[in-house]
Symmetry: C2
Subunit: 329 residues, 2 copies
């Protein structure tokens, strides 16, 4: 028995039910009476909802991200802000550098400060780390891919499918020695990109060569290190998939310095499609990860709980990817 | 009579005086006694200092910026975070979109939340808007260039000199019809870039042509609009200075589409030297505005007040610029 049920029975929107309960915005008296009567009739306990309505609003949302220097996140923040702005909600951005202790610290701090909602991209936190947040009645949206996604709203990207498709694209262009510059292993969700690479190799009947897989930082500098390592391997790869665009741009730096022609001698594919992907030369072929859309969707999920008092089951949204073919592969 | 005076008289650091007063960290007993005796002798009223020491610390700093999608600001945030991290201070980033009401809202919100320090880049706020912040004992550092810089610590860039130098550089390469794509007029500090352009023209004996000055948005899209407008002017400019790199990258977009060769037919110079400046093709010649250094310096000014209990006069730091010569001019 929740707000959605009351709304359905009363033939009104959930927003109207929510406004009737909160008294924050005017509702026509006849409608209000009908809703209140139904609530009594249906044995609906407003106290259950009251928790989710939280009378003590701060109109603030925390966005916790791992790397503000990765343009993916500013774009995601933009999408979130555009959706919550009309509700006069303010967004604080917390940059954790992807460090476990910093992720935990910001989570605690923001919960203690009584934000109304929280959107998190975490490399390290487990589902149980969010218990205090959800118990405090804070609306939570977790971004990325999680094995244990039962207890909060989530928005993820079809990373595995996207990376498998990119691998297939390279195979289709005659590449057979396809390497992968990976993010550090064990970070929430990111393993799916590697899994997609493996899927793609398997589909093409190509072996997985461990010396073609390099684990490095998730940055331009990481891409430089990774590419430099791969150039030592014999036989040299003829293509490289990168865990994100910054890594791919770092790989391009090294290839340019080494005067290795892209894509003729080495094809390069990124992941994310940040704005810089179309700025570099050669322009980067990449897998589009919809940053703005992800932020926007997270914002809609929050607004549905905070403004429209949606109180139904958790929602798990997966956004599709596209392969964006440019010059580097 | 302040902490600095006591420290000087006692022959110890301000930090030691501060620790003696706050009791937060151990001070050698003999030193402690000497400091306390001096404080009495000098008629120093610790209550004056108590205000600046603020016992109720939250260990949080707000960074208020106009455009998180401009990579200049994430880099600035990086510099700030690197300096304050060792003091276990957490940074919230607030993105105002450069809107006057949003700047004011975040200022109020952060002051109400009791942050210890605040670093602001504001297009609209006046000195008096910060009164409540400084009265609340919040350490404040304002970034940019301000006419009325008396009442808070500030960090600015020598924007005017930098832009004058860039203008001179173009003149030195034979350009005579130099246009300027400007940010919207009237925003705090940014007028200095236009002033520098005027200085440069004057130094070269070139006239200021109003049809060569376009006022537009401070973004890539703004640069596209600005460049498109300039291409209608007769005679066509042979060089364009841009208010920032995003604007310059937008200008390059239009020139590429119009098949106008850069720099042969049109030289383009940016401002900031964001990472993308070296990624675009042709690589962007620009005026380096030290984002990381600006953030780092702001952090040091905050730490001096919050951790080292510096209580002296306001400091006004101006960072130099460099002309970074690449391919576009």
């Amino acid at each position: 028995m929740n707000i959605a049920d009351v709304a359905r029975a009363a033939g009104v929107s959930q927003t109207t039910v929510s406004h009737t309960l909160s008294g924050k915005r005017p509702v026509a008296e006849a409608t209000r009476q009908r809703i209140l009567a139904l609530i009594e009739e249906l044995g609906f306990r407003p106290s259950e909802v009251a928790r989710s309505l939280r009378t003590q609003r701060t109109n603030t949302i925390a966005l916790i991200i791992p790397d503000i220097a990765n343009p993916f996140y500013p774009e995601l923040a933009r999408g979130l802000q555009d959706v919550v702005d009309p509700s006069q909600m303010q967004v604080f951005i917390c940059n954790t550098d992807g460090l476990a202790h910093s992720e935990a610290d910001f989570l605690d701090l923001m919960a203690a400060r009584g934000v109304d909602g929280m959107v998190t991209v975490s490399f390290h936190l487990k589902e149980s780390d969010f218990d205090s947040v959800t118990k405090a009645g804070i609306a939570l949206v977790r971004l990325g891919d999680y094995a244990d996604e039962g207890t909060s709203d989530t928005v993820a990207t079809a990373q595995q499918t996207g990376m498998a498709e990119a691998t297939g694209y390279l195979v289709g262009r005659g590449r057979r020695r396809i390497a992968f510059i990976d993010a550090p292993h064990g970070l929430n969700g990111l393993g799916q990109r590697f899994d997609g690479y493996c899927d793609g190799l398997r589909a093409a009947g190509l072996p997985l060569r461990t010396d073609y897989v390099v684990e490095t930082g998730y940055t331009r500098a990481g891409g430089r290190t990774g590419m430099a390592t791969l150039l030592q391997v014999e036989p040299r790869p003829d293509a490289v998939l990168c865990a994100n665009d910054l890594v791919a741009i770092g790989a391009l730096d090294v290839l340019r310095d080494a005067r290795i022609r892209v894509p003729e001698e080495m094809a390069v594919v990124g992941f994310d499609d940040i704005e810089a992907a179309s700025m570099v030369s050669p322009a980067l072929t990449t897998v589009r990860n919809r940053a703005y859309e992800m932020g926007r969707t997270a914002g809609q999920l929050l607004i549905s709980r905070l403004v429209d008092a949606y109180d139904g089951p958790k929602r798990h949204i997966v956004l599709p990817t596209d392969l964006v073919s440019r010059e580097s592969a």
